[in-house]
């Protein structure tokens, strides 16, 4: 069971890690790209990019100005993001970091999902095995279910209702 859990979790984490991001690495940073990765600190709960597009505030104006300044200085995307983290803390990032405690934000949903999948599979397997111990009932029921054609089922439904 534990091996299955580990395997499922590993596969899911790998899928997650391999999930392509929207921007190819190496692209020169744009204001929008960086503003999409930063949360506006005015309390609106939106990214700086979204705040600017919908109902710009002085905070997001200032943040965009700072992004533009740093891009003009030739800084990379990561350097600019780091500079904002230095000012506002990690809460300014729109994405939790994939290290330390913040890794839990990424991994936990998939671990929970994997654990649920393993649990359900194990339960169904257990029930099916126990059901197989009573072949006289299961076989009779299953055969009647298995070999009934789809058209017959629809016909029966319709006949019942009309």
């Amino acid at each position: 069971m534990r091996r299955w859990m580990l395997l499922s979790a590993t596969v899911l984490i790998l899928v997650l890690a391999a999930w392509p991001s929207t921007t190819a690495a190496g692209d020169p940073p744009s204001v929008h790209e960086i503003a999409s990765g930063l949360m506006c600190q005015c309390g609106c709960g939106m990214t700086v990019a979204t705040c600017q597009e919908s109902m710009p505030c002085t905070t997001s104006d200032a943040m965009v100005g700072e992004i533009q300044r740093q891009i003009s200085e030739g800084k990379s995307k990561q350097e600019i993001l780091d500079s904002f983290v230095a000012v506002y803390g990690e809460q300014v990032l729109a994405l939790p970091r994939k290290s330390g405690f913040s890794l839990a934000a990424w991994v936990t949903p998939f671990l929970v999902l994997s654990a649920g999948a393993v649990l359900i599979s194990a339960l169904v397997w257990f029930w099916a095995k126990r059901g197989a111990a009573k072949p006289e009932v299961a076989a009779a029921e299953a055969s009647s279910e298995e070999f009934r054609s789809y058209e017959e089922r629809v016909d029966q439904d319709l006949a019942l209702l009309e």
Binding site: V15, L16, W19, P20, V31, H32, S36, G37, M39, C44, G45, M46, A49, T50, Q52, E53, S54, M55, P56, C57, G89, E90, Q91, V92, L93, A94, L95, P96, R97, F101, S102, A105, W106, P109, V112, L113, G116, A117, I120, S121, V124, W125, W127, A128, R130, A138, E141, A142, E145, E146, F147, Y150, E151, V154, D155, D157, L158, A159, L161, E162
Partner: protein
Amino acid sequence: MADLGYAAIITAFIISAYCAVAAFVAARARINELWLSARNAVFVTFGLTSLASAALVYSFFTRDFSIAYVAEYSSSDLPASYTLAGWWAGQAGSMLFMAWILSLLSVIVVVQGQRQNREMTPFVSAVLMGILAYFLGIIAFASNPLEKMPLALSEGMGLNPLLRTSDMFSHPTTLLLGFSIFTVPFAFAMAALISGRLDDWWIHSARRWTLIAWIFLSLGNLFGMVWAYTVLGWGGYWGWDPVENAAFMPWLAATAFLHSVMIQERRGMLKLWNMVLVIITYTLCLFGTLLTRSGMLSSVHAFAMGAVGPLLLALTGLVLVGSLVLLWMRLPRLRSEHRLDSLVSREASFLANNLVLLGAAFAVFWGTVFPILSDAVRGVKVGVGPPFYEQTMAPMFLALIVLMGICPLIGWRKASPENLARNFVYPLAVAMPLALTLYLVGVRPLYAVLAFSALGFVAGAILLEFWRGVRARHRGHGDSYPVALPRLVWHNRRRYGGHIVHIGVILLAMGIAASHMFSTSVEKTVAPGESIEVRDYTVTFRELKESAGSDSLRVTAMLDVSRGGNDAGTLEASKRFEGNDQQPVTDVGLRSTPQEDLYVILSGWTDDGKAILKVAVNPLVMWIWIGGGVMVVGTLIALWPDGRRGRRLPVLERVPVGGLEVGRA
């Protein structure tokens, strides 16, 4: 009028609390007279909450600025059409709105209870009125919308400019209705647990009420998406805001319930699981109400922080712990009548569907609360924005789409290889060539090919269901094919209504996937006469135009649009300043076709008359709205009462027991 309204709130609080206790005692001790009294109290409570609501609305229309809530959400120049919206625009008013809906729902349940579930209606009413009493207590003592100020203001502060739109009548009202209606299936589930009558009686009512709540919550979310996309200029339709998440989580849990309830109805299984799902759904509704009103998280939707937060937190905890304790006590009586026979069965595929739906709900919940958790553990509030949700939810939604196609194809109990081969071959015959075609025509990245071929697979599966049903009617009843289709749907509303909902989901998912993966945008500062080119569109900035209203200023970028060199009309994108508010409201320029949307936002302007424009081409967005509409139509078809089926149900025989008239099958 305000005093009368407040007196009505206080009286409604007392009477609803009495009703909750009286209905419970009447049901347990079978005292008919007490139940009649409690039943009358339900009607009186509805009358009183209506009176309080009328007093608030009257105060808005008479501009009674001695009432703090009225002064905060209206002003003398506020158009009458938006004045009514003040009722639910703020925290205290929206709580009264929810209480009024809840009291109306209680009346409907009691009236319906005279015809069905007679003996259980007192239990259901007790739960409903208990929850209503709690809400009315909050309104009366912590969040009174009719509270007077020591000195009346000469003028109100007015409604937030962002809320001055017709969407204010559709989005918040449907969401609040959805949240409130979920109280009813929860009340039925609790009535079953409290009374110990754990057969299927509650499932039928709970399913019907859940469908109704689900429609409203779906509509609420869809209206919110339209609002965000067309008015607010979020650049998209979903911002993964904590309060948006709060409305999405119960929707996911309720969707899981609506699927798993079929297994209980059909095979007497998952009784415990269905109870758990109803409890989770309602707890998430309360959690959503709490998120909006507690100030726990930053959100564009959030109301001001106040005493309401801890009270709602207490209610959420009370509901969760209380219902789980009840569940624990009744555990031995919630055993399934059958067991799952195989992993390859419709029951197992429904369980997988439930798992992914709840997994998605958990992922959203986790992302929403992670900043609080991180703050508590590390003292650092981590930001969790839209990119997090997009990356975590994408694989889950893909799995859900695939399961949506697989579930109807697998037989009940245990699917045979013949069953699988027969049912999978046609959907795969749609999906595989589609995937190949998409790949060959250059669609990239590969997960886009995967997503669209999965949608093709589901579409193939649903079309197969329709085709087989129509053919069966044609052969069995001699109906011509065009006649057979509507008759098939009408005579099997629940089944084919569900398939129509799935068609809506396919269209919606297609729009979301395409607009998310293939959207193109350019942001540029342009002088008059200069153009921005995006795909085959050319957007030429003509001029900036200022127009002043009585209390507003609008700056509009006038744009000429051409497509492939041909004239495609004009567009206007603007920013609006209302009253003294320095924060502008965005009105996007939108040219929408089934193929794609041309979407223009005026981000700003310079002193020398240049405009900063964001121009985007978003493919297939219109199909999101069409898909949403199809989902609602399908749900209505599935929900439509079936008179003939009703007549076949066992008729309850009225038998007086211990003074309380009860029904017996």
